[in-house]
Subunit: 341 residues, 2 copies
DNA sequence: CTGTTAGCGCATTCAT
DNA sequence: ATGAATGCGCTAACAG
């Protein structure tokens, strides 16, 4: 069995309480003894066992990061990755680390039909939870709401929907509207807006706002069930640009934009001469790596991740978090893919 | 405080051992009592506390995944992501989850100058470790070798270098040689091979093998310090293709290929008419998403991840793992980016 | 088949 | 300032 606090105490000629005190800086200790203890810890390469420690503190120094099951692996989308990067940027400095909790589609392998993060919480494997969710996922969230009510430390990515808890978000609707406004200002009157299927609700709203605000702008909406259906996109571009006369394309992610660019090359639609492209970019600079460099709304997802982690850690430490709902600004970065008509 | 095994026992009118037996299926229990216990567990939404359990078992049901610090975030490279996907694909079914352990560049924030995974191991936060490393990282690995010697459950990605432990790998040198052979067979006699800086050793070896095997093939090597230096690549392509007369480009990752494609478009070098491109792809199908579709050597990194996780879990369970070093085959997928000369 | 008990490693009283 | 003793929640050995 590994070395325990007893071994250290014995070698240093003190009691385990003294060792514990030094470990936790919880009281003053005679410098002579302290030195002996430190020597013993070095000697044994002693590290306190987390189970013993956790049993009394009931804290694991881990937080969970949960992505509701999606079409694809969570590691597929820049959005998720930037979030993870942001989170990871703050954790090590607070002596925390993260467990990835991901839903399996195959429920039969699980004991209960509950979101998997609940187990982690009840078993005390994590001290708090960050969860990223596409809008409607919360609807089926009795469990989630209950945790919120109990004041469990949690921050979610997305619009606020409950009095408790914390959240970070970017104004999805706002920057999509902004995309359309910018195109309109540059003389575009017929554009195609591409979006992921789960954002349908927002699209309806955007359509209605634009309908009254910019009556002379025609917007087509294309909801993709799966971002990577190149074939689907190809036909859409052929139709909307080639036949329908759209002069601009709005793309929801850089991944989609990339495919769009390939499609335009294939169809010999030059960008921006034949068709303009605006993208959303979740990682700064992504649009600049394409050719032509793509104008994009930058959503600072990495900062949202850091922000979320930061808030979470503060609540876990018991600090009052004054600003429990923070919005992140998006910013248009103009590059070479949009043309003035 | 949360509900404990005692609460369940009390409500079911049995002793805690009986509850424990049911929890672990560790012995037969009278069906009547078993039913009562199950009812009580339901009632309280009881989940066993991991600290209590861990204290006696000394197992956390978590494994660590460690990426040595690199230029970029671990979440930047398809390679890492596919590895994670592969690992994650097997964990939930074995009731395991993973903690991401990543090195911070800022050592001052850490108590000791040891690889961070060591703490996790000593604190018993993880039951085993998967670690992905670019070749030479192991060199400074006294800690790593020591763990290997002690028989700690570990699997690493890369060539075997120690008698103990387990590893999975793809023949990096082999498929790079294969790339050159394929190009040669298609009539190419002067090609540029691009590679990440940390692979310099392999490059030297490849150069010498090709030198004797295919004396009429001239290979230029370009070592990138950072894959994303578009400017650097641009000048290289201009030089090697435009002036030096290379007819083909070998790219080490799809990320680099993407940039290469943009550069060729920018320089009006048509692919494959003006210059051929072969890539490595770590995620199946990646090359097909580009335009033109890029021929690539597929390295099944996702399978390597699953394989690694599988081996690791088996050793943790105490099973003998017969095949403790498995090599994965790469496969050339021909698409539209290579031309016969 | 079941209850009692010891002990896992540690932080934390409570005495001193 | 320090040691002894208690208990955190659980499993497993033991006794019945």
């Amino acid at each position: 069995m590994a070395v325990s606090i007893h071994d250290v105490a014995r070698r240093a000629g003190v009691s385990i309480s003294t060792v514990s005190r030094i470990l936790n800086n919880s009281a003053n200790v005679n410098e002579k003894k302290a030195e002996a203890v430190r020597e013993a810890m070095e000697y044994y390469h002693y590290e306190p066992n987390q189970f013993g420690r956790g049993l009394v503190k009931q804290k694991s120094n881990m937080i969970g990061v949960y992505f509701p099951s999606q079409y694809e692996s969570i590691f597929e989308l820049t959005y998720n990755l930037e979030l993870l990067k942001g989170i990871e940027r703050v954790l090590p400095y607070q002596d925390y680390s993260m467990v990835l909790i991901n839903e399996t589609t195959e429920y039969e392998h699980r004991r209960q039909a509950q979101p998997r993060y609940l187990e982690f919480i009840q078993q005390k494997k994590i001290d708090g939870l960050i969860l990223s969710a596409a809008g409607d996922t919360f609807t089926r969230g009795d469990v989630f709401s209950k945790l919120l009510e109990e004041g469990y430390p949690m921050v979610y990515i997305g619009k606020r929907f409950h009095q408790n808890g914390m959240n970070v978000y970017a104004q999805f609707e706002q920057y999509h509207l902004q995309m359309l406004r910018e195109l309109h200002a540059r003389g575009h009157r017929k554009v195609l807006m591409i979006e992921g299927g789960y954002h349908k609700i927002y699209m309806d709203h955007i359509a209605s706002v634009i309908g009254t605000e910019l009556p002379d702008l025609e917007v087509r909406f294309l909801l993709l069930e799966n971002n990577h259906f190149r074939r689907h996109l190809l036909k859409a571009v052929e139709h909307y640009v080639g036949e329908d006369g759209c002069t601009a394309l709005c793309s929801p992610t850089i991944e989609t934009t990339r495919i769009l660019l390939g499609i335009c090359a294939q169809l010999s639609y030059r960008i921006p001469e034949r068709v303009s492209v605006v993208s959303v970019e979740h990682r700064q600079g992504d649009g600049a790596l394409e050719y032509p460099a793509v104008s994009a709304f930058y959503v600072p997802v990495i900062d949202m991740g850091s922000g979320a982690a930061d808030m979470l850690l503060r609540t876990i430490r018991g600090e009052k978090v004054e600003d429990d709902s923070v919005e992140y600004e998006t910013k248009l970065i103009e590059r070479d893919s949009v043309r003035n008509l």
